[in-house]
């Protein structure tokens, strides 16, 4: 569609692994002719269609909405989660960002808390377990008060939404040398700490989610800022600072255990 559309050819070095128990290895595939207007996943579709026709099993990868919002997709491209373009999910990374003749290394998110399932697919259910620990306001259906009796300054609502834009893709964990989920947890804790609705459970939430994070095998934050750089929604690490504050306050001054 763009005026600069071109056809390029690439070499893909893709991680293949039958399942969590088997050994994996990189395998090389020629991409065939690729339009620079394609998204990265459309390029993988083309490669998979060719593999299928040759009777080979296509490369398994997670993906769904292809609009950058569901958080299903995500692999490591040339060493970077979601590829080198800032603020982009893999499905929104377009081939115009690569050059003819490039070799692209494609491997799964690697982290202790994300066991591999097959090829590029990993198990990120630990992130759901973290949310279950307190990433919500405990309000039953039907018990809500009239919406406009809760006033929220516009700036606060904006800040809360900045944090709540997290799509739960796990790139922050994959990018972190310690495999920490601090950015993910801090985004949820921040959203609810900023809003009046989240205040009653504020201390409990921070303590419970941080503890669970340790329990699930996520590492700790070493201020490397790799998470922020990899985040497709550009969630700021100021959220981690807020989480630390919330956690200390809760540990020292609250009655929550």
């Amino acid at each position: 569609m763009s005026d600069t559309s071109k056809i390029i050819n690439l070499t893909l070095k893709i991680w293949r692994q039958e399942n969590g128990a088997s050994a994996g290895a990189f395998k090389n595939y020629p991409s065939g002719p690729i339009s620079t207007d394609m998204s990265f996943l459309e390029m993988l579709d083309v490669v998979n269609e060719a593999l299928t026709r040759q009777g080979e099993e296509p490369v398994a990868f997670d993906h769904d909405c292809r609009e950058g919002i569901c958080g299903a997709c995500g692999t490591v491209i040339n060493g970077q989660a979601h590829g080198h373009q800032q603020g982009t999910t893999l499905c929104q990374l377009h081939m115009r960002n690569f050059k003819d003749g490039d070799t692209i290394v494609i491997e799964p998110f690697r982290s202790r808390a994300f066991p591999l399932i097959k090829d590029l697919i990993v198990d990120r259910s630990a992130l759901d377990t973290l949310v279950a620990e307190g990433g919500y306001v405990s309000v039953n259906t039907g018990g809500a008060i009239e919406a406009n009796t809760i006033l929220v300054p516009q700036q606060t609502a904006d800040q809360a939404l900045d944090a709540s834009e997290c799509i739960g893709c796990g790139a922050c964990v994959a990018a972190c040398p310690n495999g920490s989920a601090m950015l993910f947890v801090s985004a949820k804790v921040s959203q609810l700490a900023l809003l009046p609705q989240g205040k009653p459970e504020r201390a409990k939430r921070a303590l419970a989610m941080v503890r669970k994070m340790d329990e699930l095998g996520f590492g700790n934050c070493g201020n490397e800022r790799e998470c922020e750089a990899a985040c497709p929604k550009q969630i700021s690490i100021t959220n981690i600072a807020r989480l630390n504050r919330e956690f200390f306050k809760a540990s020292l001054f609250s009655r929550e255990k």
Binding site: D37, A60, Q154
Partner: protein, 641 residues
């Protein structure tokens, strides 16, 4: 098959209250004795799971994604309607009801739509209480914007990602119940069939998408919230995994399928640009608040948009529909875009696009203001097309987006199979022949938070709390059938003469439907589609290549199963479209037009819900009609002029 809509008697405004009072209740202590299966974890499925679990039922929730938070509700951009009248612009529950039923071209039930408008306000309260960060005014109150098909501002939003924020609210509520042990969450599981015993829904058969294990799950009621079937068209704005399988399996087990030909074609999508494309991307309809739609007056004008002077531009929506302008309902906007392109006035490389121009809005309100409203949409557009919409008008074209048709349900949201409830986009109930913008989120959450918690009790209270044995005869037989289908898909793999991939077949079906069962339809085209579909299906079962095995994660096999069902389901869509010889809502039947080429509805012959009963793969389904009666609104020819 008997279609009893169970609409409560009495005045419209009192029906829901009266019905809730008349329904039998399940005593709080007895609720824990009932198991409920919910399939799907989008707005409808997640909100239903959480609400039912809060009430005390034991809920098992299934989804095909790796996490319930990824359901496609997450991609809804624009907003959610409610009749709060915060803008003091004359809105009311009755106006929201009226706009919705008129927007649906008078093909929905009055009672259902009125209930939807009634609970719309509770939804906003609920979501705000959960901490959904809706847009706010400077004073801290909730902000609204306007949307197509309405002349009041009643849409609540969170930038261009309202669906995401609402779903995260419902997902939070769901995960809270997981933690409390009231919901068992089963992700990466696909429902392959419904188990019906003695005419009643008793459970489901699923495939574990990681291990390939086929499993049986029993319950006292089954709730389907599995979304729409837009992917029948191959290219649509739906997520890649969105499919009709669960709903279609229920149809084959006896649930009536209602109005399957009612498919919404969304006017503002990024145009198709290559044959490798696997899905289309929607640009929120809210853009039409500030964007002006135009094409060059002269057909075939290939000049860059900036080089076309004002006098040579045709702002056709503003000209034709002065009172609604660019905010006409989706069907009208889509049809007019097609009409302009058919007349050779389409723009871009393919000529299948029209401009959506923000230059005037930027001049009027400043670039910063426009960016604040639509920044993330502009960003998304630029990533995909490599063009900046604040410098050069966006190019848009209609694409399949939402399906108003779905499994038939009564006022309780129960299908024609007792014990099988259907919520959200998967049912047919509230949008008639066309859905207004910002109404899908409203309906999904209305069904899940407020309707099903009330109505499911009425069903469960009436049944003895019997033990359901997922190792019983019927379960085993249903499971065996599901296993058989999987072996057939793998066995047929590429044996036929012209081996083709599953996507290849899917694309072929999609093109056929888009051509003959899309925005404009006629008898001849539909007949041709009806003849072609069985041939594609036949070839599919012989020549589709399905590599790998059934005993492990196999995405080719998953896709093949879904496409196999689309290939059968498409036939029901076409049969329904053939039967409905009127133009209505989202589609134009070419034989039924006014002298000005506007859609002509035929109330004397088609004021009914068409519910189809399965009779076999190779035979046509049987039609049952549920007549629609209008006591509170007068069906009129829609006019947005």
């Amino acid at each position: 098959m008997l279609l009893d809509a169970k609409i409560p008697t009495g005045p419209l405004v009192e029906k829901w209250d009266k019905h809730r009072f008349d329904l039998k209740l399940v005593n709080p202590a007895n609720k824990r004795k009932f198991d409920i299966i919910v399939v799907g974890s989008g707005l409808a499925g997640a909100s239903a799971s959480a609400s039912l679990a809060e009430m005390g039922y034991n809920v098992k929730t299934f989804c095909i994604q790796d996490s319930p938070r990824r359901a496609h509700s997450i991609a809804a951009q624009g907003g959610i309607n409610a009749a709060k009248n915060y803008q003091n612009d004359g809105d009311s529950i009755f106006r929201l009801f009226y706009d919705t039923i008129k927007g649906g071209d008078f093909r929905a039930r009055e009672a259902n739509v009125y209930r939807l408008a009634q609970v719309s306000n509770n939804i906003i309260d609920q979501c705000v209480a959960q901490g959904v960060p809706f847009a706010r005014e400077y004073g801290g109150g909730l902000a609204n914007r306007s949307f197509g098909g309405a002349q009041v501002s009643r849409t609540f939003y969170a930038r261009g990602q309202t669906g995401q924020q609402l779903l995260l609210g419902a997902y939070g509520a769901l995960m809270r119940q997981v933690k409390l042990g009231k919901v068992t969450m089963l992700p990466r599981q696909e429902m392959l069939d419904l188990v019906v015993e003695d005419g009643v829904a008793r459970g489901i058969v699923t495939r574990n998408l990681i291990t390939g294990a086929i499993e049986c799950h029993g319950a006292h009621a089954v709730v389907l919230a599995t979304g729409g079937y837009g992917n029948a068209y191959f290219l649509s704005t739906n997520a890649m995994a969105s499919n009709v399988t669960a709903a279609f399996r229920a149809y084959k087990r006896g649930a009536a399928m209602a109005n399957p030909c009612f498919v919404q074609i969304h006017p503002t999508c990024i145009p198709v640009h290559g044959d490798y494309q696997s899905k289309l991307t929607l640009m929120s309809e809210s853009l039409r608040n500030d964007g002006r739609v135009w094409v060059p007056i002269k057909p075939g004008d290939k000049r860059a948009p900036a080089d076309i002077p004002e006098a040579e531009r045709d702002y056709y929506l503003e000209k034709k529909y002065p009172s609604f302008g660019n905010l006409v309902p989706r069907d009208v906007a889509s049809r007019n875009a097609k009409e302009q392109c058919d007349a050779g006035k389409g723009v871009g490389e393919t000529g299948l696009a029209v401009y959506l121009d923000f230059a005037d809005a930027i001049k009027r309100d400043s670039l910063a203001t426009v960016q604040k409203k639509y920044g993330n949409l502009f960003h998304m557009y630029e990533k995909i097309t490599d063009q900046n919409p604040t410098e050069r008008p966006m190019m848009i074209y209609p694409a399949v987006h939402y399906t108003m048709g779905g499994l038939w349900v009564d006022y309780n949201l129960m299908s024609t199979i007792p014990g099988l409830f259907v919520l959200g986009e998967a049912n047919f109930s509230d949008h008639g022949a066309n859905r207004l913008g910002a109404s899908a989120l409203m309906q999904g959450l209305a069904d899940g938070y407020f309707v099903i918690p009330a109505t499911i009790g009425g069903y469960l209270a009436g049944m003895a709390n019997r033990n359901i044995d997922p190792k019983g005869q019927t379960f085993l037989a249903t499971r065996k059938e599901a296993e058989g289908r999987i072996s057939r898909l793998l066995a047929g793999s590429g044996k036929g003469a012209g081996k083709r991939t599953v996507d290849d077949f899917h694309r072929q079906l999609g093109l056929l439907l888009w051509e003959h069962c899309g925005m404009a339809r006629n008898e001849k085209g539909l007949q041709e589609a009806l003849k072609t579909i069985p041939a594609i299906r036949e070839e599919f079962w012989h020549s589709a290549i399905v590599p790998g095995t059934g005993e492990s994660l196999n995405q080719s096999l998953e896709r093949a199963g879904r496409v196999a069902d689309f290939l059968e389901f498409a036939q029901v869509m076409v049969v329904d479209a053939l039967q409905r010889k009127e133009s209505c809502g989202c589609h134009l039947r070419e034989e039924s037009q006014t002298p000005e080429n506007e859609a002509l509805r035929d109330d004397s012959n088609y004021s009914h819900v068409a519910a189809w009963e399965y009779t076999g793969t190779d035979t046509l389904p049987t039609l049952h009609k549920e007549p629609l009666s209008f006591e509170n609104v007068q069906p009129s020819q829609r006019s947005y002029k």
